[in-house]
Amino acid sequence: MSYQFTLSMIPLALGALVSFAMAFYTWQNRKAIGATSFAIMMLMLYEWEICYIFQLAGTDLPTKLFWDKLMFVGVVATPVAWLAFALEYTRRKTWLTAGRLISLSIFPLLTITFILTNELHQLFWTKIALTYQGGFFLLDNINGPWFWMHALYSYTLITIGMVLFVRALLRWPKQYRAQMTWILLATLTPFIANIIFVFKIVPILIDITSFALTFSAIGLAFALFHHRLLDIAPIARDIVVDGMKDGMIILDANRRIVDINRAAQQMIGLSSDQPHIGKPVAEILSKWPELVQRYRDLLEAKDEVSIGEGENQRWIELTLSTLLDENKSILGRVLTGRDITDRKQAENKLQESEARFRQIVENANDVIYRVDNNGYVTYANPATIRILGYESEKDVVGRHYLELVAPDARAKVRRAYVHQFLSKTPTTYHELPIIAGDGSETWLGQKVQLIQEGGQIMGFQALARDITEIKQAQDALRLARDQALEANLAKTRLLSKVSHELRTPLGGILGYAELLQRNTFGELNEKQQKAASQIIESSDYLATMVNELLDEAQLRSSAATLHETVFSPATLIEQATSGMDILAQKKGLEFFAQVDPNLPRAIYGDDRRIRQIVINLIGNALKFTKKGSVHLNVTCQGDNYWGIQVIDTGIGVPAEAQEAIFEPFQQVHSELTNDNRGIGLGLSITKQLVELMNGKIVVESEPGKGSTFTVLLPIKGVG
């Protein structure tokens, strides 16, 4: 083997070098779309070029033929790699299954087989010859039928690839077009060169495909480095535009469809099989002539349109925008449609529910209104207008709420609101007078609720009711109560006065009667003695009645408050019982008092009232006891209570009357009590006093044998 290298081979070598570099570089970035097939294609080109250099350099036929045959490996593989690259780069990789790749490779493999076995059948080359022209040894083969088959196959693959690129070029965004153009130019150049060589259109000696391949490689390199061919693969229109949920139609300046995505086709109800590009938009949207007419000359528009009916009704939000170039002339229009059915349905439901609630509020008989945080009425329902006697909504809405409040009450109402706002009390209740439409005062009882949004107070809403009548009734009631209280007080005063005034003449009656009885004014006979006794008894009864009436009146009035001081219970008992033994003796009764020595020396309490209790109980016992004794027993009941017990041997209280005797004006009626009249207030007063002191009173009694009244009072220590 001998070779003859010439300077004319340098461009071929450079081309090979560039091809190899490209193959290497893209292999490094093989993750990029189409990079693998592009790298293989470059590697095959490299092989092609290297083999061609050696074929040219060879000076004898066997050498040349060896390299020529070897070269065809690259020659047959390049179109397949090219097609694979085109498919991958234009996002049709899925088409390129392993089976199809193998099928595509069958023909090239057959070609290689025929080339290697050409000596046997001359199907590829009918004649192999070496010529010497212009100082070069050149291979001058005559191509056989299979060569033309191979050529046809290769051109077909290359053409398909180019068509794919051209189609993509038309659709892709502008920024990808330069890149695509470079790829096409780079591909087209060797293709044309090859056609020229193969068909010997121009008589040239060397296969200029190699030069073309150099240009091609440089072109691709430019595409690669300048337009970052493989770094940023174009964002697939299919993925983005067809994958969009929103429908999109792009129109040119003549309102013809330039692009329409799948979502738009579905929304309109077009089949995706038919080509729509190029059709006038009016044809596609023929179902909505009104819309087309309206949008015809608009630059921008936004609408909500309904498509379909019943269950299939969809709501679409249409947006029209216009694409302008730098000179503000219309390039085209973009129509996008968004399916807003869900939102629309939610809105409708909200509207329905709002309408429902509005109806409730509007038809309510109560006053319902809203006020913003500056105090202006923003809403008032018809009841507000009606109840307040205004003409229309304008009389209320838009006014400051204080304007509606009666002048006298404004400051107070304002304070209440301010307090509620500051303290952020969610709800309050106020009663306030409102100036009605006719200038009269209407009282509202209203529940005021703060309106808060995200912690911010937006105002308040109130639910109110006309309480004018209730208010008037309340006022009347209050007046009646005051009058009653006053009358009651007057009654008490009168009773006090009357009983006080009665005491003095009673003193005269009782005094003279007793003096008569004691024969102060001379000896009395039996009848006179008896008459004196009757006078004494009657005046005693009258005195008791006066006392009881007075006590009752005082207890029922505001006088029934305790005046607590520190006192000695022993001293109190001594004072209260002084004179009791005299009264007892007068009736022939025995009286004695016993005080528990463990009783505290000092107790906190209302000593006057306690004295009154003791006197009442003993007085009562003396009154209802004919013979026997009355016994006072003051005891200590644990740490917390002390007891005042009055035990008599009197007529007793029947079990059924034991509760009633503590009611006012109740007495046990029996022949035994006939002589002991009273008006029956003593025990009632005693019970009231005991309860006022948080104590209790109980009675144990057996009729005929006697009664035991026990009062338990809490011990309030002195400390």
């Binding site: 005034e501 003095t504 005269g508 009782l510 005195a543 006392n547 005299i582």
Partner: protein, 120 residues
Amino acid sequence: MTKPFVLIVEDDPKLNEIINLTLQGDFELETCADGNTAMELLANIIPQIVVLDLHIPGTPGREILTHLRSDKRFWRTRVILTTADNRLAETLHNDVDIVLLKPVSPNQLRELALRISSLQ
């Protein structure tokens, strides 16, 4: 033995007479019907018992009571209060020896007067 000396201050003539008649055999009595006379009398005499009505003309009964309780000369003097005002009577319970709410029973008055005079 000398009878205990009692000063009766009572403006109502009937009650005054009753008290006089009640106490006469057992006590030495001095009677007046108004506060001023009572105060004049008390300047010269030291009674063992004063039967005092609160509602009297002239110097009020309360003032007489205060006078009796503040002057050391009267340290042994006992006071029996007679009144128709039960509330007032209650407030004065601790300042006097006995309170008798009107109508006063002559028998009771006599017994009590005898008892407190015998305690001395």
